[in-house]
């Protein structure tokens, strides 16, 4: 009884953590499901078919590939633009600096439906109503990823002391050498984190994409469409794969951090 009273918070906390994993457990389980009919969505029997016949459902892998392409391009552009902006905001003084900070915060604070509908309003007003598709999705994704990149890289930069850079300068390194050999490696984990965040935001976005996609189909849009008709079990294999890959990346990064810290100590 004493033990329970002392550990009640810890137990409740772990229960909440377990709760966050319940749907993941279902996704993994359903990726091995052998459904009796397309309309019944429950576990009927074990099979590996969803994994061996991964691209079975018509259009699913095309949508998946489209999402990967958009995610990759959006991440590339947003990471470059966002990193440059983060450097400007932390390291430089310029006119309207604080209003720039506000402008970067706003897209993260606006509901997605508002962001998506205003972009659609722009595209329609500009006469692009018939040309919605890959490029309009890409433009939208770069827009909402950008703020997250700036915020992530900015916090890494702001938390960094400039002593190492000053030491490099004292040792006659040119500004270019200082930047590429000292500053950039120090900021790089922040940039990498920002890029991973961008990719997952872009890859998973539905609300903004759906409004600006025209007839193009990304993976979340495929799932949405399938949800109205009956979901093929292969989407759960994709979900499982996404989960495993992101856990490997994040845990790998964490272990790498520990190894480095131990090496430094």
């Amino acid at each position: 009884m004493m033990w329970l009273r002392r550990n009640i918070v810890l137990i409740l906390g772990l229960l909440v953590l377990v709760y966050t994993f319940i749907p993941i457990f279902v996704v993994v389980l359903m990726s091995f499901n052998d459904p009796s009919s397309r309309n019944v969505y429950r576990f009927d029997g074990f099979t590996l078919d969803n994994w061996t016949n991964f691209c079975g459902p018509a259009g699913m892998c095309d949508a998946l590939w489209k999402s990967v392409q958009i995610g990759f391009l959006a991440t590339l552009v947003a990471t470059i633009l966002g990193t440059l902006a983060a450097f400007a905001l932390v390291r430089w003084d310029f006119a309207f600096r604080s209003s720039t900070n506000l402008l970067i915060f706003l897209p993260m604070a606006a509901p997605e439906i508002v962001l998506g509908s205003s972009l659609l309003a722009l595209f329609v007003s500009a006469g692009f109503a018939g040309q919605l598709g890959f490029w309009t999705i890409l433009v939208a994704h770069i827009m909402f990823c950008l703020s997250f990149v700036v915020v992530t890289v900015r916090s890494r930069l702001a938390g960094m002391s400039d002593t190492l850079e000053q030491a490099a300068m004292d040792l006659y390194a040119t500004p270019q050498q200082t930047f590429w050999r000292v500053t950039f490696p120090l900021v790089f984990p922040g940039i990498l984190g920002a890029a991973l965040l961008s990719f997952s935001l872009s890859f998973d976005d539905f609300i903004i994409t759906n409004l600006n996609a025209g007839t193009e189909t990304t993976f979340p849009m495929y799932v949405w469409g399938a949800a109205q008709r009956g979901v093929p079990m292969q989407v759960n294999a994709v979900g499982t794969l996404m989960f495993v890959v992101s856990v490997v990346i994040v845990v790998g990064g964490e272990l790498n951090n520990r190894r480095r810290q131990r090496a430094l100590a």
Partner: protein, 303 residues
Amino acid sequence: MTSTAGTAPVAVTDVAPPADNGRSRGPGAYLLIIPGLAWLLLFFVIPFYSLVATSLYDPSGSDLRGYDMTYHVANYWTALSDYWGPLLRSLLYGAIATLFCLVLGYVLAYTIAFKVGRWKNLMLVLVIAPFFTSFLLRTLSWKLILADDGYVVDLLQTLHLLGDDGRLLATPFAVVAGLTYNFLPFMVLPLFASIDKIDHRLIEASSDLYANSFVGFWKVTWPLSLPGVVSGTLLTFIPAVGDYINQTLLGTPNQRMIGTVIQSQFTDANNYPIAAALSMMLMVLILVMVLFYVRKAGTEELL
């Protein structure tokens, strides 16, 4: 160094002299900031202007033929009188889901910050990990879990907590539960950032001064975690109010949220002016509530 910088003659060099706050001055900043800023101006600020314009178009046009600008303010009146129900429902669902998130998120963030010692980083990873799987798939999983012939409904019926024909799916409960689940990390991360910074000695001091653990929590931990509470509730409430995925997959079509209405007005009904007016109203309502809330909570910095 800064104390002499004001009086020393400024040497003309190719390196910009540091400003008083340690930041460089010079045109370099503009080279760095302009690409990103231009993107946001073109695809965030100008679209917002288009949204305002679209909300004032004559509603008799269409997206392909084009609209006439007639400053038709009546669009707002039409939108409000037709859809005040979904608008209120969204604010209500969003508020309840935010409250649930606050309770669950606080317990989790507190546990990670204070109770797990060196497992802190691993726990943080575990908190984020489930949310890297598709939002839609997670929501579909809840649909399966809460289904009429599922284990949860069976259990509740056996315990007589739910009538024999009672259901969870297609009820407001399912929608709020889905919103709570999906936006939980937006609550946990800012809460953790705040709670993790709290100095343990302050809590020890409160117990030295004969506060029991509840009083200690209420007088010390909770007030110190308020910045996290404010940003966490905002980051949860805003997306939850605008979301329509949970409502569509877990709720019923006759209890729509405002996001569902805006989406269908844009893509199915092609009624752009009304959809834009609804979108504007949602934005303004949220802004007003956020400003009021931030002033009440007394925290000026948002993130």
